[in-house]
Subunit: 384 residues, 4 copies
Amino acid sequence: MVGYSFMGATHSVAWRTAHRAFDLPMRPRMAALAGRNAEAAQTAADNLGWESVETDWRALLERADIDLIDICTPGDSHAEIAIAALEAGKHVLCEKPLANTVEEAERMVAAAEAAAAKGVRSMVAFNYRRVPAASFARQLIADGKLGTIRHVRAVYLQDWIVDPAFPLVWRLQKDRAGSGALGDIGAHIVDLAQYMTGDLLTGVSATTETFVKERPLPQASAGLSATADSGVTEMGAVTVDDAALFIGRFAGGALATFEATRFATGRKNQLRIEINGELGSVVFDMESMNELQYYDATEPAATAGFRRILVTEPDHPYMAAWWPPGHIIGYEHTFTHEIRDLVEAIATGSDIYPSFADGLRVQRVLEAVETSSANNSTWQEIQA
Amino acid sequence: MVGYSFMGATHSVAWRTAHRAFDLPMRPRMAALAGRNAEAAQTAADNLGWESVETDWRALLERADIDLIDICTPGDSHAEIAIAALEAGKHVLCEKPLANTVEEAERMVAAAEAAAAKGVRSMVAFNYRRVPAASFARQLIADGKLGTIRHVRAVYLQDWIVDPAFPLVWRLQKDRAGSGALGDIGAHIVDLAQYMTGDLLTGVSATTETFVKERPLPQASAGLSATADSGVTEMGAVTVDDAALFIGRFAGGALATFEATRFATGRKNQLRIEINGELGSVVFDMESMNELQYYDATEPAATAGFRRILVTEPDHPYMAAWWPPGHIIGYEHTFTHEIRDLVEAIATGSDIYPSFADGLRVQRVLEAVETSSANNSTWQEIQA
Amino acid sequence: MVGYSFMGATHSVAWRTAHRAFDLPMRPRMAALAGRNAEAAQTAADNLGWESVETDWRALLERADIDLIDICTPGDSHAEIAIAALEAGKHVLCEKPLANTVEEAERMVAAAEAAAAKGVRSMVAFNYRRVPAASFARQLIADGKLGTIRHVRAVYLQDWIVDPAFPLVWRLQKDRAGSGALGDIGAHIVDLAQYMTGDLLTGVSATTETFVKERPLPQASAGLSATADSGVTEMGAVTVDDAALFIGRFAGGALATFEATRFATGRKNQLRIEINGELGSVVFDMESMNELQYYDATEPAATAGFRRILVTEPDHPYMAAWWPPGHIIGYEHTFTHEIRDLVEAIATGSDIYPSFADGLRVQRVLEAVETSSANNSTWQEIQA
Amino acid sequence: MVGYSFMGATHSVAWRTAHRAFDLPMRPRMAALAGRNAEAAQTAADNLGWESVETDWRALLERADIDLIDICTPGDSHAEIAIAALEAGKHVLCEKPLANTVEEAERMVAAAEAAAAKGVRSMVAFNYRRVPAASFARQLIADGKLGTIRHVRAVYLQDWIVDPAFPLVWRLQKDRAGSGALGDIGAHIVDLAQYMTGDLLTGVSATTETFVKERPLPQASAGLSATADSGVTEMGAVTVDDAALFIGRFAGGALATFEATRFATGRKNQLRIEINGELGSVVFDMESMNELQYYDATEPAATAGFRRILVTEPDHPYMAAWWPPGHIIGYEHTFTHEIRDLVEAIATGSDIYPSFADGLRVQRVLEAVETSSANNSTWQEIQA
């Protein structure tokens, strides 16, 4: 595994847990964690359960005891690491968004396809696909329970930078993060909407905004710099979007609204998708991730209503592995389910999704959003 | 009152009720109802409580015992009736949308301003402003409880024409209705968003869609035409939008999404607005119209949360007139509150809102939506 | 109508509205309102829409133009007025609880039965039976949708006297009110539970409590008495229960819990009933009175869930008379529906429910609760 | 660890996870799992992460490398194992209910007290105390935010045996399980109510019921017995309660209702507690275990409302160890938190709760419920 902060922690839980919760054909060994700072990496490895440490991720590629590289770094390093790993014949799991640009993503897809020909698997970690309620929604739609889809209504709302005094962390810098709310959380709702509907966006009209244009530099806010003496806080420019809003159309004719923002006061992690079809509707909200709302329009009008399904039954995706009905699972198991499916795909030699190609499709949508936003919100077609 | 179908019925409840629920300075007399069909109008007058009937609305303008004209007809007749009434020195209450075009609305505003100089009042019936929870939300925002507004998220979702076999009623014909979901329900969320924030939209990017392009003609579906014999259902073209989606910006810097549709399966009358400000948020949903969700970000993080305020306290707008706390009121009293304020304004000689100018502002937004939609969703500025 | 405070106001709305909302076989005339204070009664009559005033309710019985007596006074006068009215051949609508004691209620039932033989109708105003969602729940249960009923879980929670400084109003005095939370709101959940299940309680085990034993006398709290000078607030004893809790069993084998309290901080008018049957469950909550939650256990486990039915469809009880789906109605129309059914029963000469006998059954339950509570909570059988 | 079914699985997660999520003073080693069937125990140990296996739990007591015994067996073996372990100087974590009888529980408390004098710790695993939302509710109450407590309203509702064809498993047999819904889930709400209020029940009035008196024997339902041939299903008597309902009083004056049932159709694991105090209220529901509803009555009436607190902030109990705000945790971490606190208590030599004495207090309440139920629901005092 390369990288060991937030995503490194969640992936580690998943690697430790998947073979205990599920009956896997192979048992993962957590061989090595790579990080530039040896000491910090060693501490992380101890905490997270990795056997050894490397200070250069390239060393992982040379180790014969390592079959898979799990990339948990910021987006600017994904392409380099993933391509090198695939060329070295290692399976790759790569955090989302796949890359910071479409060009990088295209190169990664090419590498993934070349590797696939040799039986090497690759996957991009859009983990929300494997929330049982989201998987189940997809299943209902694929089974035709909603009929023709008319509307998708997707938001991903957070509020952690509402305060203008919040510092200029790396996620607010374009060169590291690629984009702001758009790539970080907007990417999730684009992928999830395409996954749940089984359909692809064909065009968007968008606007983006940076509400707070300057923020204190991190060191300033930590009181470590000269500013403490001078009494002046050093400020830096925010170079990514705070919010991105867009309208879209799917190939199948559905209309969609998307909104990703870090300024929705009171919303901590509200990824909410509502899908309306001719025969029914579903609503999913990550803050209540063990539930799915479902409306069945084929019911008589008098007894029809949005029903709150507790997605904790053994019949629900992944849930037979967990607790009895009504006992919920937490956020981290979206990753556990990912690892479970990935290990199974590797063992059985089958394809695994979301693929790098799926990641590229999301990347194209993000690019179209930025293009439209920069171009007076004019409709921007998305390459299939 | 001119017209006596759905809106005629709700306005009649309000005229009958306002002076009983509230202590009004003047007591309205329900003098006359106008309708082209004398018999049907008489039946309606009896049911709804009107003293007399006229078969030509112009007759109302000549009656000295009539001080106010309440226009409840489809949008294509609003301008003619309202302007004539104002010129005849009658106060006017006009159903929304104010008109079917900006040009008509502008002439109505001119007439309203000329009349106002002579003490004649005019009001457009955006009744949702007077849902107590919506009024209270406006009050919280006006008091600064939300700070700078960052986001508005407004939908008006219905599902009554999801079935392609639903007939081609007048609301689906452009010459009568002006537009579809956009003017009928989109107008409400535009007005309400501007009212609650106390701010105006400055531009939009939009798309609209007609999912079902042809529908059975009403007579055909009733089986009265020759089609019964031939076995062929006569179809007609749907000439209005089924759904309208747009992104907007407010003068104060807030971003907004709007969606009005009649294809949101399971949503019967979901007018929902969420507003996020720097200091807090509110959420209003017409399906639970006696509630307001409020998030106070000045609370400590550990006890902050969206609170469900039952807007049934005597301190809440209009509610001292009704029942004890926890006993809810119904949809029709949005009109009762409208009449209450209108009668008071007439009695005290003060201005009343929403004015025709407010109605025109909404009309300009609707026009901008249609222009943007027709123009590749390109951003369309809205005249102040 | 006798009495004109809270209940008088709601009944008046109903008398004014029923024939406009519904197609009634007879049109009620609001002939006279009776109240001891002539001036106050006249003001009330003007506000509420009554044609004349009497200062003695007995005068109503002598008027030939009056066919029905509507009793909206406190419980201590119900028996006297109702029996006299029935003997005078007037139909009677009597507020709940039917009486303050079982003995009074028994005499009222006897009078009602005697009157019924002559075609004179009587009804006790348990208005919540005619909330459309409650009627619909009953209908589902009667249709067998829930199968054998196992559990009833009923609470009626208010909080208007949590503050010990709240004065000693008549509802806190046993001689006027009969009992406290038990008779005022507990009576409602007993009646509603029996109505919805179509079954009768056969026994209870109970406890009651008066948390605040003394309260300021009303005049003292208004600052009008000598206490203002002396600085001492005059206190009086609270002689009714603040809360009543009981466990019960139904004839059909279901177990039940009941709780009525005025000390549930934050609950304004939460009358909530959940009923679990072998095949499904329903939940009704008066604070969201236009909704019914329904769980259908015959659904596959994966798609089963409590569904929120918006009880605003034309197929729902009473709702065809009101607004389009999704447009809710208010508390007062529980009374409108009552009047509608009562007028229809009178016109067609049919029985009307809840009858005085139904009121007596509730009274027997309340008595059993008090007996059990006074007797160490020992199980108390209820006479059929 | 003794026992390895449902509770064994959850405890194992906790033992594997606590030192990774939290910074523990000691790192637990999962030394051995005991089970009578060597093969099954070995498989379980492999799956759950235990290093070795013993077929007799007594062997664990003799191993010097084992410091703590975790008892996950049915209630009938708790006393024997726990007492022996404590006498052997091993710390003990014992699943709830503490025992099947008060007498057993008393002996266990005596053993625990004797052991405590030598620094040996014991704890009963009422895991719901360590749901962060429940801990936080306790904290609010302990801080006086609710003032004097007036009401507790607790239910634990499940529906897994609604179907009469569900077989006669060990949980439905008195000799193994001690009691039915009462001891299994009723014990949880009794403990949680006492924990959250910081108060003790002083008496109860109760009723219990077995709705389905006979069920198919497990082997019969599995089709393994002779019944398959004969076509007759062998039935056995259900010897425990299906449901237990009781009213209670707390030492501090609060009134309470409790209901534990396995017949609440549609409720999968609804442990719900509402507590009303003079100054506010809280509501907790295990099906949404990352949320707490809180009503602050010191707010102005116009802005007061039940707020939904997402208990995922770093300021909330235990949550700093987990994910960012809005990312929820699952059921199993109630055990992780338990282990964290237990390990810390052992390392620091401090007391740990719930103690065996707390478990005994719950046992006394359960006994009082059974006594009252058997005695015509007569009020039953509970020994302090």
